[in-house]
Amino acid sequence: MATLWRFTLFLCMLLMACGGLSLASKEAKTRSSQTETGTHNTTEEGGHGAGPITTLPIVTWKWDHISVQYLVALWVLVCWLCKLLIEANHNVTNYIPESALLICSGFILGGMIWGADKVQTFSLNPTVFFYFLLPQIILDSGYHMPNKLFFTNLGAILIHAVIGTCWNAASLGLSLWGCHMGGAMGDLDIGLLQYLLFGSLMAAVDPVAVLAVFDQVHVNEVLFIIVFGESLLNDGVTVVLFNVFDAFVSLGGGRINAAEIIKGIVSFFVVAFGGSLVGIAFGILISLLTRCTKNIQIIEPGFIFVMGYLSYLTAEMLSLSAILSTTFCGVLCQKYVRANMDESSVQTVKYAMKVFANGSETIIFVFLGISAIDKVIWVWNTGFILLTVFFVFVYRFIGVFFLQWILNRYRLVPVELMDMVIMSYGGLRGAVAYGLAVLLDEKKIKEKNLMICTTLIVVYFTVILQGITMKPLVMWLKVKRAAVAEVSLLEKITNKMFNHTLVAIEDISGQIGDNYFRSKWRHFEEKWMTPFLMKPSARKKQDDVFDVFHQLNLKDAMEYVTEGERRGSLEFVRNDSAILDFKKKLESEYTEAMPDIPPYMIHDDGAMFTMGRDHIPSVSLEMHEQTMKAMREPEAVDVHHLLDQHLYKSRKQYRHGFSRSDFKINRDEKEVQEIFQRTMRNRLESFKSAKMGVSPPKTLVKYSKKEQQEKVKTKRGNKHTLPPFTELIMSLVKSSEDEIRSFPKASFLVFFPFDFSVVLKILSGIENPAFMPDLYPTDLLQEIPPWLAEGEPDSSMVAPSLRAQANLPNSPMEMHRLGLLPASTRSTDTKQMNNDQLPPPPTPPPPPPPSGHM
């Protein structure tokens, strides 16, 4: 809590500084937002050589020089810090969506600025919003769009986006006008057209708000895609409606005739389809570009962003729908870009996209909050505001239910009633509406401020109130939640088979259905688009089944490496029973997966991890990634049972943990270390308290080593009967203080880890418990990490692990063993790699006992 407060304080100070500085620079206009536009005129003014220099200044204060850029950077920082603060405590974000909290923090920030400046110096300005904040969010949604789902539901999405939005606009405008006529709002200077204009800007469901709220409520994918797709695609409608009514308002009621209305309808199609076409053209361009960026891999991710942004600007330039353009650009290019570019570039694009989108989303919400703290825009008209909120809410419900009721008659799996409730409830309005409201021309619309203020209230109402209640509502209505993505191979194969089957059934029954079109599209794509847009080398990976297979393998390999690193090394591979099984069962998969992991990747733990984890198969929903990951965990355990079986059996990590106490270890290793230390302490104590005894320590050690070698030779035959060794243990147990004096620690150490597992085994087999407290306190056995305890009763691993230990080149004489190992070259590779990667090489030959190495 204390840190939180300190943090808030810091934020405040930052803001004060901001506010103070902004006051200082009058000519910089201090619109944080007006960055790029304002940059030129301000920077030149404050440039060098402004006044006559009398002496050489060492340091000069050049705030004007950088004020705009500085403020922009500061604001970005402040907004992100807000997010950081909010996300610091998940207790809150579990109940209140982040977007709502961001708006609230915007209120606070706005209040501070107001307090400092007595005027709202910062607010969300449409230029910045539409040209600098929105594009990356749209590009991100397009690029990460689950294509199959999107196109399967395209019909429903379009109906909702087009008809639903028109309905919202018209009904809201007309009802408000009706109420106005009825006298519910008092004296307002708003005509019918202006009401319709207002209706059209309020009509569109906002993609940013929807994403932000639905991201945290994991509803089922169909529901999600309909709401989200609608929010993206209705932009075309909104822009057209807004432009048309804006034009009508300028024209004035008298000059609107049928021709103008028809023009309006035509312009809708032109804007929507034109925008989409521009997007498709840019998508194709991106795909083509990425085909040949092999030699400039570093900047190849940049192309996606630049081209995506250009698609937005181009559409805007042609006065087409920019949002549609960018959306389709992302949707189209995603598949080819992912196939064409290098794996690391794909990851870069993905993360950079998320950074930009999430970042600007944060900024948008914070500024939506800040914009509210401005006396100028607050024009209160109870009737107008409350009725707007009410109508927006009610007409959304009516529209969605009616449209979906019709759509359900044609849907294979009808959307359930509860889903419809959530669809209606998810009709959040956001920054797009606000941006459009600010764009209104005050000369034409007298009540502009009332409209802005109402828009803000609707935005707050939907984002904050509906956003907060969304999750409880989803729970309460028991809406179907998102399912786990399919990752099983058989599932994938069978799904593919289902598709073929359905196509065949449609063929047989002579009907043309979705499946028919889908298969035709696939055909077309395979024949024309793929060869054109995709690198030849990438085409191979195109197959779905193969892809899942590849992903699974990659995941396996990652898990394998992660597991290895978690436990200190990949050494356990050399446990040769594991090698054999591993090779036998996973050989082919492993060879598949490995070439894709360049060895240098393994150095970087983080890179590996993200690569493995975040490689979500195309079937999964990007936005549900977080939960997917969490939900997949138990499944992964199941699927990779096989691997784990072999990984867990090996006990060599004991040796590892013991032999290098200075090894920089992870948590699990610490555990082992702890056990070891405790054991050592116990042993020391027991030695101290014990009587003098006979023990020739050095020969003992040698004996044990020799013994071990012998055992290796006869290893598989007698796993349980190790009589000489048991004797050895007995002598050890009986040994005394004398031993501790003459028994060098190091040699003990060397001896100890070597046979630890054997000792354990024997101990657990010995019936006389009297030995136990002496040698190994019982709590040691309990302290054994679960993965070990699990394999405890299985005695078969004693020999292999010994064998594996023996395979280490402990002495030059033993070196040749390595060569004789029946292990494949691959396993040696792994070992090699492993040796390279770990800071202290895991298998240096331990020095001969007397020399000591601790």
Binding site: N495, L502, I505, I508, G510, G513
Partner: protein
């Protein structure tokens, strides 16, 4: 017939028209040749298997009632009726759909998908770019994932279990048979 598949009479009529148009020599039943004449089916990688499903009873012709019975597998599952529980035997039930899919794999009808059978399906469905070894390891892995009793083959129960999470109703349904 109508009751066994519970397809509406309008759909039945439409299907009958289709049946007659498929039945080129007007024998009142379809032969494999009639199916092979369908262009789309010939292009379908598992078209042959689906065709075989129509002739599963060992006859070399299929009459209208069994034609409809097979197609009835692809009716969307009626949720309301399923709740009553009495309709489990409808061909459109989840289990029946799964059984149908299972039989598409299980060519020798021994109640198990062997590795070889899976491999055949994969060979048919995956492109030529995937090498035989890769196919084999895919099959191997798919079997390992689903194979619970370690008999190196997938029984129907195992098949059912591994597709537990899949939305069969959606994926094995054709809308016009509603």
């Amino acid at each position: 017939m109508g009751s066994s598949s519970s397809i509406s009479s309008a759909h039945l009529l439409r299907l009958y028209d289709r049946f007659e148009s498929l039945d080129r020599d007007n024998r009142g039943c379809l032969s494999p040749d009639d199916f092979e004449a369908l262009g789309g089916l010939a292009m379908n990688p598992i078209g042959g298997r689906i065709m075989e499903a129509f002739f599963s009873s060992g006859q070399d012709t299929v009459d209208f009632s069994s034609f409809v019975r097979i197609l009835a597998h692809f009716r969307p599952t009626d949720r309301n009726r399923n709740k009553e529980g009495a309709q489990q035997e409808l061909p459109s039930s989840r289990t029946r759909k799964l059984k149908f899919a299972f039989q598409l794999y299980d060519m020798d009808r021994d109640g198990k998908i062997s590795r070889e059978e899976l491999l055949q399906v994969l060979r048919a469905m995956l492109g030529l770019q995937v090498t035989e070894e890769q196919l084999q390891s895919i099959a191997e892995r798919a079997i390992q994932e689903a194979d619970l009793d370690k008999d190196d083959a997938i029984s129907f129960d195992e098949f059912k279990k591994s597709l537990e999470k899949t939305d069969i109703d959606t994926k094995m349904s054709v809308s016009f048979l509603k």
